[in-house]
């Protein structure tokens, strides 16, 4: 048995677990943080991505005891109360998901990628999400969501959020509503 003491989402946690306990299982079974998903369990799919000392890792391929003393950030630690993290907000607004199973990992990987590459090209986004699989979306809206997250994190208001924030003039608001419907249709296609 090993005593694992780590900080998870800013809270100190201490548990005695078997040495072979994986970080993903530690988070889910010991701490009840089930937002970290286990998809493939063979380090292919990236659903279990969390941050250890600020870097994205696949928690199904790391022993809990291996990261003793570390700062761990999971999907549960991203939002500030009811205010979503910009990457979460962008995934929601761009509908960067279908079933949602891969989403926690996609979001944690995106947060990690944008630290290194704040203004990624499409190619860099695809390379940066290489460790994450989505079996529903075909990645189109995920890439869109990453682009929007990057804009938001760089301090630029995304087009959609700006529209929502300033619907003062009725005519303009109606025009924009039409536009966004069109955009939605186009996205569905």
């Amino acid at each position: 048995m090993a005593k694992v003491e780590i900080k998870v989402n800013g809270v100190k946690q201490s548990r005695n677990v078997e040495d072979r306990t994986l970080l993903a299982n530690f988070l889910r079974d010991e701490l009840g943080l089930t937002g970290t998903h286990i998809g493939c369990d063979t380090s292919q799919c990236g659903c279990c991505t969390v941050h250890v000392n600020g870097r994205a890792v696949k928690s199904c391929s790391v022993l809990a005891v291996q990261v003793n003393g570390a700062d761990v950030l999971t999907i549960e630690g991203l939002a500030k109360g009811s205010k979503l993290h910009p990457v979460q907000q962008a995934f929601s607004e761009c509908h960067g998901l279908q079933c949602g199973f891969c989403t926690p990992g996609m979001i944690m990987a995106t947060v990690g990628m944008l630290k290194d590459t704040p203004n990624p090209s499409e190619e860099e986004i695809i390379h940066g999400l290489e460790g994450n699989l989505c079996r529903c979306t075909g990645y189109i809206n995920i890439v869109k969501a990453v682009k929007q997250s990057a804009k938001m994190l760089r301090g630029k208001k995304p087009a959609k959020a700006a529209k929502k924030a300033a619907p003062k003039k009725k005519a303009k608001a109606a025009k924009k509503a039409k536009k966004s419907k069109k955009a939605k249709k186009a996205a569905k296609k």
Binding site: L22, T42, R55, K58, D116
Partner: protein, 264 residues
């Protein structure tokens, strides 16, 4: 995973002691190959001796025509290191192709070279550049170090501490990655030095190897056209559901040409 004991050692000496007193113990650094292997119950070590956090095994330094990378240096750190990019840009580029971002955040050069997966990227650079593998006991030339699939010159209890790369005039790595696994179906590292050109191939055969006929043909002034008709025995290549021997042999030639075209 079978039950085991995990030990995070505080020094190289402690690691060597642990290995000496526990014959079934295994070294661990990033664990990016080892943990998945353990999960599949393909190995049953009594102890995991974690050397990943030892400061003496970390770091990237350049001096007097060499680039030295500590064994526990992570792929991400090599891929993004200004020192590595300046000394051997193709090596930093290669490190950025390994696995995926999450794997590169944990996986280490020493782990990759010790494991010697026949489709891993680093062995191609270590052999292609004619690097020296430094252990806690001795220095091993790359030509003597790699001995086929998952086999190296490392003895029981021997620990890689760093890899010393001679800085070439120019070098390049071209990889045809398997689209699902990301491993090299064929990866070719070409290095042009003052003595001539070295060509190391990973992924295509049962272990990393030098394509010596191509090296001779390329000489001191490598041009892609020079290897057009150079012999490469398809019988020596791997064959599996992904590609036939002949297909892999052709891929090696194509990757070699691409590498030569990208020499920098």
């Amino acid at each position: 995973m079978y039950a085991l004991n995990y030990v995070k050692v505080k020094s190289l000496a402690e690691a060597a002691k642990m290995l000496a007193s526990n014959p079934e113990a295994k070294l661990m650094a990033g664990g990016m190959t080892l943990v998945p292997t353990l999960k599949q119950r393909l190995a049953q070590p009594s102890h995991l001796v974690d050397i990943g956090a030892l400061p003496e095994l970390r770091g990237i330094t350049a001096k007097a025509g060499t680039l030295t990378i500590g064994a526990a240096t992570k792929h991400h750190d090599v891929a993004t290191s200004a020192v590595a990019k300046k000394a051997i840009p193709s090596l930093a580029y290669l490190a950025g192709l390994i696995g995926d971002p999450q794997v590169r955040n944990l996986g280490t050069i020493g782990g990759s070279v010790a494991n010697n997966d026949p489709a891993a990227d680093y062995p191609a650079a270590v052999l292609g550049l004619g690097a020296t593998v430094v252990t806690n006991k001795r220095e091993i030339a790359a030509d003597d170090y790699f001995q086929g699939m998952f086999t190296t010159a490392l003895e029981e209890g021997e620990i890689i501490t760093r890899i010393v790369f001679p800085v070439p005039r120019r070098a390049a790595y071209a990889k045809f990655a398997h689209p699902a696994s990301g491993y090299a179906m064929a990866g070719v590292f070409v290095a042009q030095t003052s003595d001539g050109t070295r060509v190391a191939v990973t992924g295509a055969g049962p272990g990393v190897f030098r394509w010596k006929a191509a090296e001779t043909a390329l000489g001191k002034n490598p041009k892609a056209a020079a290897i057009e008709g150079v012999a490469l025995d398809a019988g020596e290549m791997n064959e599996d559901i992904h590609a036939t021997r002949e297909y892999r042999a052709n891929l090696v030639r194509v990757m070699a040409k691409r590498a030569i075209a990208q020499l920098r």
